[in-house]
């Protein structure tokens, strides 16, 4: 059974079919790419998967559980975490606090505990701190833990967003254009990090990307979207050689 099963997903905005008859199966541990020209509906698919939009039709199953139409919070708890195309960090919080917000639902203590500073507060905070530092280390951000996240350079902000998403302990990670705005060195480093996530964290990853070097370098399978419909899907090499895909990207 696939980790993520999407069948016949559909949504319209007014008269526009933004996503139509979208089917996708992602196996556990897979690194899957979603590509397509601008406006093809890739981010809309992400928004449908994370509950930002409710689909008009179709079923989304995660690990066999139907999560169609659930709220963003429930979907996150069920095991889908995402990053955003335009970085959405908690800018006035420190780097480590951004990750701690991601850890929020895995560690519990009451409001009264925090106000009264009961022993449980210190115990749980220490655990959270250790866990957050361990995550930051994976992304090579541990030196900047106390910096305001807004002051990080661009590439590190992207990494921090991934770290924060990972902190929610997801089964499936959605990355929306992780390499956007990165220089070749940063992209290279990002590819390594994503590989680490797949190998060491056994993470299943679905990513949207325009950078073909990254896509062909790390994605095992691809789905190509055009005008809200699936153009083709299959393993990366075959898909990228498909003349229809080349036509969709480069025109006639």
């Amino acid at each position: 059974m696939a980790l993520l099963e999407i069948s016949n997903l559909q949504i319209s905005f007014g008269g526009l079919r933004a996503v139509d008859d979208f089917n996708l199966n992602i196996e556990k541990g897979e690194l899957y790419g979603l590509i397509g020209p601008n406006g093809a509906g890739k981010t809309t698919v992400f928004n449908l998967l994370t509950g930002e939009y409710k689909p008009d039709e179709g079923i989304v199953k995660l690990d066999g559980r139907d999560i169609t139409g659930k709220s963003t919070i429930e979907i996150n708890k069920a095991g889908i975490a995402r990053t955003f195309q335009n970085i959405r960090l908690f800018k006035q919080l420190s780097v480590i606090d951004n990750v701690k917000v991601g850890l929020h639902n895995q560690y519990q203590y009451s409001t009264a505990t925090s106000i009264l500073r009961l022993p449980k507060y210190f115990a749980v905070e220490k655990e959270m701190n250790d866990k957050a530092m361990a995550l930051l280390k994976v992304f090579d951000l541990d030196q900047e833990a106390e910096y305001l996240s807004a002051n990080l350079p661009y590439g590190k902000q992207r990494k921090l967003e991934i770290a924060r998403a990972l902190a929610t302990n997801p089964k499936l990670l959605l990355l929306d254009e992780p390499a956007a705005g990165m220089n070749p060195n940063e992209t290279e480093e990002l590819m390594k990090t994503i590989k680490v996530l797949q190998k060491d964290f056994q993470m299943t990853i679905l990513l949207i990307e325009h950078d073909m070097k990254l896509v062909s370098g790390i994605c095992e399978r691809l789905t190509v979207l055009n005008f809200g419909r699936i153009l083709t899907q299959g393993d990366t090499k075959t898909v990228l050689k498909n003349p229809e895909v080349i036509k969709a990207y480069l025109g006639e």
């Binding site: 919070i73 996150n76 995402r82 960090l89 908690f90 606090d97 917000v101 106000i115 929610t168």
Partner: protein
């Protein structure tokens, strides 16, 4: 002691400085008072000063930490004031001063908290300007309801009316009018002292600062910074908005109850509980630095004492007050003046180090 302070994290050190500042001011004022150096006019200002500083902390929780603009905070203070004073009136002869006053503060906070929770349900669905305007309306509604509320007590219990005192139908012999519509509550026992005020201010500060540096506090601040991202990592936005708003209302209610026990007659006048009061609290928060509790308290202190200090200028008093306000705002927040102050190494007197930007190479 010194090594202990050095071992604390930067935030705890900063919080410690805020607590120390309040306590030092308290000790200095007490010494001055014992030496007879404080004029009666000034000592009359001490309790309101604590009330305003507490209100500034309360509002800063909503504006600075939650990131929503509330313009109705005087309304919560009003609820707390009436609830606390009402409790003190009905238990005046049956309880000792200390437990009665303590309970009056707690009840003021609880009732205001309930109002905060109930008002929060519709209001927190909105955001930005809309939320500000709706809170403004609620603040005014509360004040106006207090102006038409009549409550009396007789042998058979409590009587309520929204029309007039005679409609209470009280037993003439034992009847005792407690809240008399536009005349409010008179004869609340004078229980408030500067010490009580400082204790309430300190507790409010501890509550807010401890909340800020906790799991809940981070959730609240994450909503402020980016609610879409907060939701995407599983933060329950409604829950944490309500938490912050309710705690803020509780603190405002305690401040209100403290305020009421310092007044001969508690009347819900616009000057005391109207929107101009809410705006004044907002001025404290903005002037002191949004999100900075210490700044709010300093701003509340300066702006409460300033009109008194300027009293000798008679008619020009409020004019000078306004000019000072404008000048402080510009000096404090204009980028050019900030740069000039930083260049001349003066910025540490004005801003928290926390906000200084670090360059990452």
């Amino acid at each position: 002691m010194k090594s202990k302070i050095a071992a604390m994290s930067k935030t705890s050190r900063d919080n410690f400085k805020t607590y120390a500042m309040v306590l030092i001011v308290y000790v200095v004022v007490m010494i001055f008072q014992a030496a007879g150096l404080v004029s009666s006019q000034m000592s009359g200002l001490l309790v309101p000063l604590c009330v305003y500083a507490t209100m500034a902390v309360s509002l800063n929780l909503v504006v600075g930490i939650l990131g929503e603009l509330s313009l109705g905070h005087a309304g919560f203070m009003c609820v707390g004031a009436f609830a606390g004073a009402f409790f003190s009136k009905i238990t005046e002869n049956s309880m000792g001063t200390f437990p009665r006053f303590f309970l009056a503060i707690v009840i003021g906070g609880l009732v205001a908290g309930i109002f905060g929770f109930l008002i929060g349900i519709p209001v927190l669905r909105l955001n930005g300007d809309y939320l500000a305007i709706v809170t403004l309306a609620f603040g005014e509604i509360i004040k106006n309801i207090m102006n038409v509320l009549y409550v009396g007590q007789d042998a058979s219990g409590l009587h309520f009316s929204m029309t007039s005192a005679t409609d209470l139908n009280m037993d003439g012999a034992t009847g005792n009018l407690i809240i008399n519509g536009p005349q409010g509550i008179t004869g609340t026992p004078f229980d408030s002292t500067f010490t009580a005020g400082i204790i309430i201010l300190m507790i409010s500060l501890i509550v807010v600062l401890n909340l800020m540096n906790s799991r809940d506090g981070r959730a609240i601040m994450s909503i402020r910074d980016n609610h879409i991202a907060a939701e995407s990592v599983g933060i329950n936005i409604t829950k944490y908005k309500m938490t912050a708003f309710t705690i803020s209302a509780v603190i405002a209610g305690c401040a209100g109850s403290l305020y009421a026990h310092n007044l001969a007659s508690l009347i819900a006048t616009p000057a005391r509980f109207g929107y101009n009061m809410s705006i004044m609290f907002l001025v404290f928060v903005v002037l002191g630095g949004i999100g900075s509790m210490r700044g709010s308290i300093i701003a509340a202190t300066i702006l409460t004492l300033l009109p008194e200090i300027l009293r000798f200028m008679a008619g020009y008093r409020m004019l000078i007050y306004s000019i000072v306000l404008i000048v402080i705002m510009i000096v404090n927040w204009n980028p050019k003046s900030r740069a000039w102050l930083a260049e001349h190494n003066l910025s540490r007197f004005l801003f928290k180090k926390h906000h200084e930007k670090k360059e990452v190479k």
